[in-house]
Symmetry: C2
Subunit: 440 residues, 2 copies
Amino acid sequence: MKSSISGFPEFLPNEQIAFNRAVSIITHHFEEHGFVPMDTAAVERVSTLLAKGNDNEIYGIYRLADENAAKKDLGLRFDLTVPLARYVSENSGQLIFPHKRYQISPVWRGERPQYGRYRQFYQCDIDIIGEGELSIEHDAEVISIIIEILRALGVPKFHTKLNNRKILSGFLITLMPEDKITAVIQLIDKLDKITPEDFDKALAELDIASENIAKIKNFLDVEKRGNNDEILQILKGYGFNETFKKGVEEIETVLKILKKININDNFVKLSVRLARGLTYYTGNVFETEFDDFKDIGSISGGGRYDNLTTMISNKKFPGVGATIGISRLIPKLIEQGIFKADKYSTADILVTTQNREYIGSYMSLAKKLRKAGLKTEIYLQDKGLGAQLTYASKKGIKLVLIANELELLDERAIIRNLQTKEQKIIRTQFIGHDVADMLK
Amino acid sequence: MKSSISGFPEFLPNEQIAFNRAVSIITHHFEEHGFVPMDTAAVERVSTLLAKGNDNEIYGIYRLADENAAKKDLGLRFDLTVPLARYVSENSGQLIFPHKRYQISPVWRGERPQYGRYRQFYQCDIDIIGEGELSIEHDAEVISIIIEILRALGVPKFHTKLNNRKILSGFLITLMPEDKITAVIQLIDKLDKITPEDFDKALAELDIASENIAKIKNFLDVEKRGNNDEILQILKGYGFNETFKKGVEEIETVLKILKKININDNFVKLSVRLARGLTYYTGNVFETEFDDFKDIGSISGGGRYDNLTTMISNKKFPGVGATIGISRLIPKLIEQGIFKADKYSTADILVTTQNREYIGSYMSLAKKLRKAGLKTEIYLQDKGLGAQLTYASKKGIKLVLIANELELLDERAIIRNLQTKEQKIIRTQFIGHDVADMLK
């Protein structure tokens, strides 16, 4: 990957082929679960964007010829969730609920580019939106799909942390006024990145009494006290209040379903520390990380948001969704050799050409090969056979068809496997499966 | 299609499913011919964009928080050809030539929205780029791929006009100084849209003598004087100069190949009037229109450009390419019922649920169905069976699986075809092909 403009990376052909292969695996899984494709416009009203984003990272657009460039009318989306909320609110009359959709599209953020952070990157989202209400079982569905996809991509050891916002807020409300809770949750979100001392200090700065700081730390350590079932039992024992109990119940529902479909504690781990930065989550939240390669941070995450559309509509459309960070994940898999990027062509076979007068005949042969299911490129430059074979080798095209004028007239051709050096003379009238066999 | 913001249309799910199906047919054909995917960033330097575009239609971008919004540094691409030229110039050392790539991506233009014109729309391009030189046979390849794709999409009667810029300019140079030729070609481009009188008047305004106007009109009528071969003979007879002869020869090469692969005069028609607006074309140009539905204009077009990269690099990368106007074409095919948009789901079967305690079991069944190749959605809301069947019907999902607690425990389920009303009791242990059979 390299960037012509800093923060706007582009792939070379072999990387792009690999990236697209990964995306098509993901798309297949989304569609296999009945999710429909969606493709909202890249441009939103600035007022919609600012409802959940901040002007530091949002790109506005303007016509170059316009004098009044900064009128802040339209801008580029910075995620796919805000456009989803807008789209659902606008089109709810024509959607069938629960509305299950996926979208894989670029988003733009005016950030300072740094390792793994881009100004343009892909988001790869699934969401399920209900009209009025949406049962918790959908949370389990979303988590299971993400885990299935990561397995299908060949992602090595990974784990998903699961928590519920109601557990954190139900607990914290026993120690502090409600208006401090968001700030404390944001601190908990940073727990892994700061020292215990800095954590204490930051809490103290929020006027949290030292005995309560101790209680918070004690509570956050509950996840070390056993497996998911054991932790659930401890949390049930606490039962601070209705909010807290509801959070525990929502997690229990999800864990029970996941266990039933063989997604056990090795993959999903209850973690009361998991906060996830975004403020719109209201219930279960989850996040997936590599066991190794911690440098790229989380590779997937999501959660339940019951009030996202209220910024746009007065109808309630609760949702649950997840995103896979493919712009970081797939290059990492390629870099680690887990996902191969060794093809510079989409073709299985190259039809070489030796006689300019017969280009039409070579093209007819290529057409026959395609009919037989082979991806077939034809070489049309006026170069010698040697140069053509080099071209095929460099591109990683496995087979070549070779025929001179005499062979063409005699309806014969040679098929050569450039990797095994095996070759075979075939009758071009019946060209097809015999060639496909050589691909294997 | 509807637009939340004027000029930025969005599809409903059934339209999006149909649109994506069309795009995947196109992608398949591109890849089957050995074209590799490319995905340049949406953002380019304004200086690159302005080399071929104009500031009236180009969108600049700026961070909303930025005071100095109009510094005209970065902007959104208005086509895919300029980014291609930039990409090839930058990465030529790592590309293998001829570089064959396709890109299907949105572009943005700050135009006044009107019927069939959008501010965001998709371009769907293939191009072949040579290093130093690129043989004319590639022009035939590009034309044949486009025609093949339009057939595969079910596009009804259409025809492709073919011309060569060297024929027009070779002829015109016999009548006028070189600096008038571009203006006259642009007039010829509008010939269909203006009256003969206005055409004469406009030429006269360019100081073309009336006898020369007569000669131009006489020349443009040559395409009415027979089939492609007959017209070629007439043009050869003219043989005004080397440029003209070269143009005729380039067209002849293309027509000969196309005939050999059964693309005859019915599909490709030599038309000396075809100009195509873009100034960067230097050789063959072509354009495809519906025989009916003239309202949407051309559905595909392209041509040879030998000097496009010279704006960026001093190396020569001649190219030939074509674009399919999918943002206009596919909605037209849907509107005409040629391409069906009757599916509101990607799923073949809906697993209904009757007992909240057994959601995990229903999900296991769904998983088995997916393993058997069925796209399987599961219904997870807490609703009665009637509501679930209605949901499946509304979405156009053909099959449903129905099982209550007893049936689940007994490893039985009912599969019902909602369209034929056929139903069948199956053993869930071995669920698979028996269900797939009911899909047909």
